[in-house]
């Protein structure tokens, strides 16, 4: 108990999530010589440790925004800052979990999870973090398996472990549960909340699923059709653990669907 209290006392300075500031970010791609505007002056801020969901129609630019936050692409206009610093390059403190698990097929589960530590050259000193991450996602015992021997849900969990092992301060999740069956999905949703609470990081979740957004996160940003801009900012003022049957969730869901232009069907 004492040890725990002490470490809790020492850690908080570095064990919090980052502050994210997105200021008038616009982005466009070239498609057959034509400019294709994808993001239109998107601005919002995420508090340290907050869990935010991005909701929006398919193709509106949610993945694009996450790639900008990861530092994989640079915006056409506007600025993205993390703790006040402009995002210039990818950094292992900001990890993106892709829509597909995209594991490296030539590496075992363990080596896939170890990828970040290996790339940063700290695998020798922090190898035990790999086992911890695997235990966290419930895949202890599958260390030696190759990706083609895993189920879709397991592969997605490996991708999650591969991100978590780096102890990110900003976790960017691009529909990480999109391809799972509904049962695994429900389990994984609960696990995601637990992981976020345990790791005390800032998290941004892109999803198509309104219920998922409301059940998991503290705040739902609704995007309009491409080029995306924010059409609603819905705080989810419910404590954890939440209950799927909560009438408040139903109200919030109606609100979100309304902003997505789907009110008529409900």
């Amino acid at each position: 108990m004492v040890a725990l209290a002490q470490s809790d006392f020492r850690e908080p300075a570095h064990r919090t999530g980052v502050q994210v500031d997105i200021n008038a970010v616009s982005h466009q791609f070239e498609l057959e010589g034509e400019p294709l505007p994808v993001l239109d002056r998107v601005s919002f801020a995420v508090e340290p440790g907050q869990f935010v969901a991005l909701l929006g129609p398919s193709g509106c630019g949610k993945s694009t925004l996450l790639r900008l936050l990861a530092g994989l692409d640079h915006p056409t206009a506007g600025s993205l800052r993390v703790n006040g610093e402009t995002i210039a390059d990818p950094d292992p403190s900001r990890i993106l979990v892709f829509q597909d698990p995209t594991l490296f097929p030539w590496r075992t589960v363990r080596d896939n999870v170890a990828l970040g530590l290996e790339a940063q050259g700290i695998i020798r000193t922090s190898g035990d973090r790999v086992d911890a991450a695997l235990r966290l996602v419930g895949l202890a015992g599958f260390e030696k398996a190759y990706p083609h021997q895993l189920s879709g849900g397991m592969a997605q969990r490996v991708a999650l472990a591969r991100a978590l092992v780096n102890d990110p301060r900003l976790l960017l999740l691009d529909e990480p549960l999109g391809k799972l069956d509904s049962l695994t999905r429900l389990t994984m949703q609960a696990e995601l909340v637990a992981l976020w609470q345990k790791a005390a990081m800032t998290a941004v979740l892109v999803t198509h699923d309104v219920e998922e957004a409301l059940f998991l996160t503290q705040r739902v940003l609704v995007f309009g059709p491409r080029p995306a801009r924010i059409v609603a900012d819905i705080p989810v003022d419910l404590p954890y653990p939440r209950h799927r049957g909560d009438p408040r969730l139903g109200e919030l869901r109606r609100e979100a669907l309304q902003h997505l232009g789907l009110a008529a069907s409900w």
Binding site: R67, A70, G71, L72, P90, D91, P92, R94, I95, L96, F98, D100, T102, F104, P105, W106, R107, T108, L115, G116, E118, A119, Q120, Y146, H148, R162, N166
Partner: protein, 338 residues
Amino acid sequence: MTAIESNDTRFSTAASPAASARPAGRTWWTGAFAALLWLAAAAVIEFWPEIIPAPYGRELAILAVLVAALLGLVLATGPFLGKTAAWIRYYGPWFAVAAVGLGIWEVLTAKLALLPVPFFASPQGILEVYIDDWARLGESVLHSVLLLAKGYFFGAVIGFTTGVTIGWSRAAGYWVHPILRLIGPLPATAWLPLSFFIFPSSGSASVFLIALATAFPVTILTWSGIASVNRDYYDIARTLGASRWFLIFKVAIPAALPHVFVGLFMGLGTSFAVLVVAEMLGVKAGLGWYLQWAQGWAAYANMYAALIVMALMCSSLITILFRIRDRVLSWQKGLVRW
């Protein structure tokens, strides 16, 4: 009765894998049949007089009897000989057909001489080559393997390096691609006269030609392998903090390896062709040269003997490459087996 009695012992030993692998005591009829056929072939060789007396008929007959004895041994011991026995069992029908083939060949050549005589060697004629000329043949194999190994090694290394470089660097691709397109499709043998003139020795010229023949397919396939790596792999590695070095050696190259191996197989195939031509026209050693030499002396039996050895050599080399690939690419599912 015996079946019922043994039932209970079988039951008690069923747990051990060796016992369950045994095909329940059934006689291997194919094996028995094949053994009889080999004995028959031996009898034909031994007792039917030859039209042109030739040495080593007796030795050939003994060999056939030995094969029959081997089949008999497998027949009698069942699965106790392990993997080899399983292999022999699997190829039982082939053993039977081979005995018939040997018999027909023997009758058509040595016994009746129905096939044009100097061109079609008899089985004992080929056996004679192996018994009398094994030293020269062995030396030829050694020369061939050494020459091939040198050329193939340089070709594979150069091809792989070039492929990775032009697959990774746009600038390198810009300069190398046109050269590759112009020179690459040219058969390596077209360089033969020039290279024997330019290089100090026919040996180094041959190494160059084999390397050239190997390098082209390896380069192209490595390049296409690197070019077709899923871009997301790079993005993932970059967000995880990967350096450029890491992206090349830990992402691009492993992802491209299946392609690289296709190139290595193609390169090995073309290198065989160049090897034989180079030996025939240049180095005066090795199996290609042996073939040429045998033709000069109208020693057709030697030619067949050398062809068989060459086939075995090429097949073994391909097998080795397959083994290496299976090991390196064990993470892939559905690998083609050789």
